[in-house]
């Protein structure tokens, strides 16, 4: 996983966002499922004694009974086989309330097998297989928690699981929306492409703290003219297409560029699916998103050709507040004043943003063109955003323990 410039910047007390530690075997194809990354992501976790278990799940029209249905805490590999159930094609591991998917294997048509691996903490879970006559099956993990201390806190575990699902969903949506965007480019429909561009971009802006972990991939997807260097041949991805659409007003070479963008995003989706998160990095990532909004969007440099900075600004804010809402149950008990302060400052940002909302808006973004936002309005917005980020930055110390 180090071959593509993955950054290991966030090496907190707990695990970093580490690829391959929560390995999800690529869907659809027969696979040994021997995921070498199934062990914990840190030496500390490994030292505390991982127990590796294998659970076999056979998809049938009746259901998806896990065998065994009870395993010790630690690394668990799920081998999923569809031996002929036409109505069932996936198995999911969910929290006991079924609110969050912790791992899954999709698109298993009859005859295919696959699986997923992850480290699971003690507790009760559900194996879910939509379409079967009994879709829910109990699954229990026993013993002592392993790994970092936060993993024994159900609120934090739920928050992290929720975040993993959020990132994965947004990345999948990023791929599908970018494909639609590329279709408009392929068809030579510039107006439609210009309308679809900010919509696809928004998904990336919601997962950016995670995507940034893989530095060179991030640059190839979202690099601006100056990243990595001001050399045209190295300028690829969203912003090169933005330049073609709004500045060059030419789609020469755009189809191939867009296809490359989708390919890189699909690689990102694979990496994201295997990534493991922790509360500290979630919290720091939320602050990073607001930093990003305050730095690259306020200046207008991010969307310098299209001037669609406002919708991506909103995407940054939305994604950071998603983290706040996920961590809220835990934070309430740690620092009762913090979440209300964040919410209050978020409200201030939203109030300022309403001034620039429009229907259908510039390029149907729901906002005015960013160039029409005056310097004093930008400064006001920047002040509100900085205040929000400052409050958010207090979360990391609360959730790291």
């Amino acid at each position: 996983m180090s071959s593509d410039g993955m950054r290991t910047r966030r090496r907190g007390a707990a695990a970093a966002i580490v690829a391959a530690s929560l390995a999800l075997v690529a869907s659809g194809c027969a696979s040994s499922g021997s995921s070498s990354g199934a062990t914990g992501s840190t030496g500390a976790a490994a030292a505390s004694g991982d127990k590796s278990s294998t659970v076999k799940i056979s998809l049938t029209s009746d259901g998806c009974e896990p065998k065994p249905a009870k395993v010790p805490a630690g690394a668990v590999e799920f081998d999923v086989t569809n031996s002929g159930a036409g109505s069932v094609s996936e198995a999911e591991l969910r929290t006991s309330d079924k609110a969050h998917i912790l791992g899954e294997q999709e698109n298993l048509t009859p005859g295919l097998s696959g699986g997923f691996s992850l480290t699971i903490q003690p507790g009760t879970y559900k194996i879910n297989c939509p379409g079967a006559s009994q879709p829910d099956w109990s699954f229990t993990v026993t013993g002592q928690a392993t790994g970092p201390s936060w993993e024994s806190n159900p609120q934090l575990v739920t928050a992290v699981q929720g975040y993993a699902g959020y990132v994965k969903q947004n990345t999948a949506d990023l791929v599908s929306h970018t494909k639609t965007f590329c279709k408009a480019i392929d068809a030579g429909n510039m107006n439609q492409a210009m309308m679809l561009y900010p919509q696809a971009r928004a998904y990336y802006e919601q997962i950016e703290p995670v995507a940034e972990v893989w530095g060179s991939l991030d640059t190839s997807i979202d690099g601006r003219w100056e990243n990595p260097v001001t050399v045209k041949s190295q300028f690829t991805g969203f912003h090169r297409l933005e330049q073609m659409l709004w500045q060059d007003k030419s789609l020469n070479g755009a189809s191939a560029m867009c296809a490359g963008l989708v390919k890189n995003q699909q690689q990102l989706l694979t990496l994201v699916s295997k990534a493991q998160y922790n509360p500290l990095e979630m919290a720091a990532g939320a602050t990073d998103l607001i930093n990003e909004a305050g730095t690259a969007k306020i200046s207008g440099e991010e969307e310098r050709y299209s001037n669609t900075d406002l919708p991506v600004f909103e995407a940054n804010v939305v994604a950071s507040m998603k983290v706040v809402s996920l961590l809220q149950p835990y934070l309430q008990g740690k620092d009762a004043g913090l979440v209300p302060q964040i919410q209050q400052r978020h409200d201030a940002v939203e109030t300022l943003l309403t001034k620039f909302k429009a229907t259908p808006g510039y390029d149907q973004t729901g906002y005015v063109e960013y160039t029409t936002v005056t310097k004093s309005d930008r400064r006001q917005l920047s002040g509100a955003v900085n205040a929000l980020a400052e409050a958010m930055s207090k979360m990391s110390a609360q959730v790291s323990g």
Partner: protein, 434 residues
Amino acid sequence: MASRDGGPVMDPARVEPAEAPAGPSRRRLLTGAGLFGAGAVAGGLTGYFTSSATEPSGAGDTSLGQQTIPFYGTHQAGIITPAQDRLAFGTMNVVSGTSRADLRDLLRVWTGAAARMAAGQLVGEETDPNAPPVDTGEAVGSPVSRLTVTIGYGPALFDDRFGLAARKPAALTDLPPLPNENLDPDYTGGDLCVQACADNPLVAFHAVRNLARIGMGVVTHNWMELGFGRTSTTSTAQATPRNLLGFKDGTRNIKAEQTELLNQHVWVGQETDQPWLRGGSYMVTRKIRMFVENWDRDYLQDQENVIGRTKVSGAPLSGGAEFSTPDFAKAGGDGQPAIPADAHIRLASPEHNGGTHILRRGYSFTDGIDPQAGTLLGGLFFIAFMKNPSQFVKLQTALAGDALNEYIHHTGSAVFAVPPGLRPGQHYGDALFT
């Protein structure tokens, strides 16, 4: 001595160009006595500082403030001189229509002015109440504060304007596009540069202001930067200062005492294609904006991981004390490198760059508040000296994956050939123009 008309010599802008057949030559006027008139008379502006034993120091002056750095020497002062606390840095472009002789004359006049200021004297003294004072006067009464004045020549000086094309060092070219830069032309390049360093901001500023004033009509300001705190150590006698990130900066810098490293990495030697530059150096400046608000929100351990050192002591994350050699191979408790793979000190290290060193001599700066964002416009005004600018290019290229890039952005850039030092009687440009 008095100047031609009994008053101070006018600055070049006010005299007729040398080419004008009927007028006095600019050269003659420039080298007239008035500018450097030694005959101080009571009244007017005299003796802006008091480094010599003959003049008493002002109240509150410290012995350090009285210290002068010799202007003459093998190398220009202001390179391995123990870094002073303050910087004034100006780049200038030669005015269109200026002749080779005009430029050479200005460099001669600058030599005298710089030598005087480095010795703690005014650029000129005068008493004529009907004439504008030759010296601008703001440093009167300030101690000399180890003032150094260092000049450099930019690549553009060697174009076809002054017949210097054949004197252009092969290594003196504009820097190629580099990672994490978006350069503002308003803070990039320049035909000439003047670096003034002192332990007193007014003294440093005064030097650049007065050289620019003297140069009016021949050169015009391109851009200017003030530095308010040194971010490098250039002598083992100095404590390591902190930059605006709050970290010690320059711990592993080349020090004045490391003669061999200086010869290997800083001073231009026999390898140059231009003998006039031997004993000189190359200077690279980079205006680096730091997004300090974002940095200040990052949690401590991450800040330390980004840099590769602890914040308080400055020790490398591989252990030891500030000056312990970083152990880049050492693993941390989690099995990953103790100094992360993308830590700033790892990627910038000689170990990571085939033994490449440069001598850093940067300063913290601020241009105030970003009028659009309301955030600080400030960071590091990076200055480094090296044997060949390719050393900087190599290092900056290696920093493409620097974790610190999230918090900084290069917004200005320049490169200069810094000629060697002068002996008394020699002038800037003598070697270049001869």
